[in-house]
């Protein structure tokens, strides 16, 4: 019953919805009840049967393999960048060099 409903939901979602950032198709993960964008490795939650596809709702998926390090590195570079912004005024040249 639940599986059948999920399949119907997935079919409806896949007809129209894609990942908001990469515009690539989404995959339904029944275990975590989330829509997963494989292109970016990001999962978007489904709350109460409503998919939440706002980029800030998405979470980077952490897997035990090399993706874990990737996510850590991303988090590290994120905090480093925000530190930079706290300390010094925004420097456009420097920012583009870093990223």
């Amino acid at each position: 019953m639940v599986r059948g409903r999920a399949a119907v939901l997935l079919k409806q979602f896949n007809e129209i919805l894609v990942c908001p950032l990469s515009k690539q198709p989404l995959r339904l993960c029944e275990e975590s009840n989330a829509l997963i964008s494989d292109a970016l490795g990001v999962s978007y939650p489904i709350v109460d049967g409503i998919p939440c596809l706002v980029p800030t709702d998405g979470k980077l998926i952490e897997t035990p393999n090399e993706d874990d390090g990737d996510a850590d590195a991303a988090a590290a570079s994120y905090s480093k960048n925000t530190d930079d912004h706290e300390r010094a005024p925004v420097n456009p040249g420097k920012e583009t060099l870093e990223t």
């Binding site: 129209i16 919805l17 908001p20 490795g41 409503i50 980077l60 570079s77 925000t82 912004h85």
Partner: protein, 342 residues
């Protein structure tokens, strides 16, 4: 492939969360972010919370202003002979659009998208109240107009009723709508224009000058009418059409104006806004509003200028202007043939 694409994600999140980190730096007026290409004018996550609040405050059965705007927008569907099986309705006045749709445009599958989960839940709950013959297959999504989660070339119609004026990148959002449309698909939007709340703008400025010796932005910068046509053309829509309507709503007092704005989720969400409002400034604003614009019967007017935009996605069947200089008949000949008007 993977690291670069996930860094795209972190970058976006970074630029979004930078707005939060700035909230602690009240003294700074420099909010121009040089690291991202688009300027951040509006705090989108605050707007999301505003819309959550609006879902709790609003009257789900009627709102005179939103209803008349939605009715006016949906009226344009009746002018089109064709049917729009797949439609997307974007945030803003979602509920009035759904309530007043009444089978127009013969929509078969409707996707309703808003940035607020509460608003979407309210829409889903109110769907049950509709009469059976008006029920259509509806999909509910929480999403952001700036990052439209819709596959390319899947929709026949995009309706956005009073939501797009809160996007930081309006042309970008419209381009994404155009991408989501099938060829010959219709884009219908209503946004608030620059004359909106001009009484409020003046009253806030006068009161703040008087009480605090300076002013802060209280009313958003809004698109002017002459910009709207350019916006449609820039977003690549064919056969653009723009028209303007002004609604004047009378309220009991200036406080009721603010209450109504709250219930519509249209309160200030500028990144540069001042984060505190002193009680005496607020009261002074209300007094200025009343004395400058108040009517004899004690009511105060508030102007809402709504810009309606219509655009079509390009299709070979649409009429086009001929190439410049391709005419074979001179206007002089035409005039000679039909005679000069008396």
């Amino acid at each position: 492939m993977k690291p670069s694409s996930s860094s795209l994600f972190t970058q976006t999140i970074k630029s979004l969360s930078r707005i939060h980190s700035r909230s602690t730096r009240l003294f700074s007026t420099d909010t121009i972010d040089h690291s991202t290409t688009n300027p951040r004018i509006f705090d989108r996550s605050l707007k999301r919370r505003h819309r959550d609040r609006a879902a709790w405050l609003m009257n789900p059965h009627s709102d005179p202003l939103l209803d008349s705007v939605a009715e006016n927008l949906l009226d344009r569907l009746q002018d089109c002979k064709r049917a729009f099986p797949k439609a997307l309705s974007l945030g803003g006045a979602l509920m009035p659009v759904r309530r007043l749709l009444g089978g127009r445009g013969s929509i078969e599958t409707l996707t309703m998208m808003d940035s607020s989960l509460e608003m979407i839940k309210l829409c889903r709950a109110s769907e049950l109240e509709l009469p059976d013959h008006e029920k259509i297959k509806t999909l509910y999504v929480v999403g952001d107009e700036e990052y439209l989660p819709v596959k390319e070339e899947t929709l026949d119609l995009v309706i956005s009723c009073l939501g797009m004026h809160w996007t930081n990148d309006l042309p970008g959002a419209m381009i994404q709508c155009r991408m989501a449309l099938k060829p010959d698909g219709l884009f219908l939007a209503a946004i608030l224009g620059g004359e909106t709340l001009r009484e409020m703008r003046i009253a806030c400025t006068v009161a703040e000058m008087e009480r605090e010796g300076g002013i802060s932005p209280r009313v958003s910068p809004l698109a002017q009418v002459r910009d709207a046509g350019n916006l449609l053309t820039r977003a690549g829509f064919a056969l653009p059409g723009v028209d303007v309507d002004e609604y004047c709503v009378r309220y009991g007092s200036a406080m009721e104006v603010v209450e109504h704005l709250r219930a519509m989720g249209e309160t200030n969400a500028l990144v540069q806004r001042s984060r505190l409002l002193r009680r005496d400034t607020a009261l002074a604003t209300a007094a200025v509003y009343q004395s400058m614009f108040g009517e004899e019967d004690g009511t105060v007017p508030a102007t809402y200028q709504v810009i309606f935009m219509t655009g079509w996605k390009e299709h070979s069947s649409q009429q086009k202007a001929k190439r410049r200089g391709s005419a074979t008949v001179s206007f002089d000949d035409i005039q000679r043939h039909f005679g000069t008007p008396s």
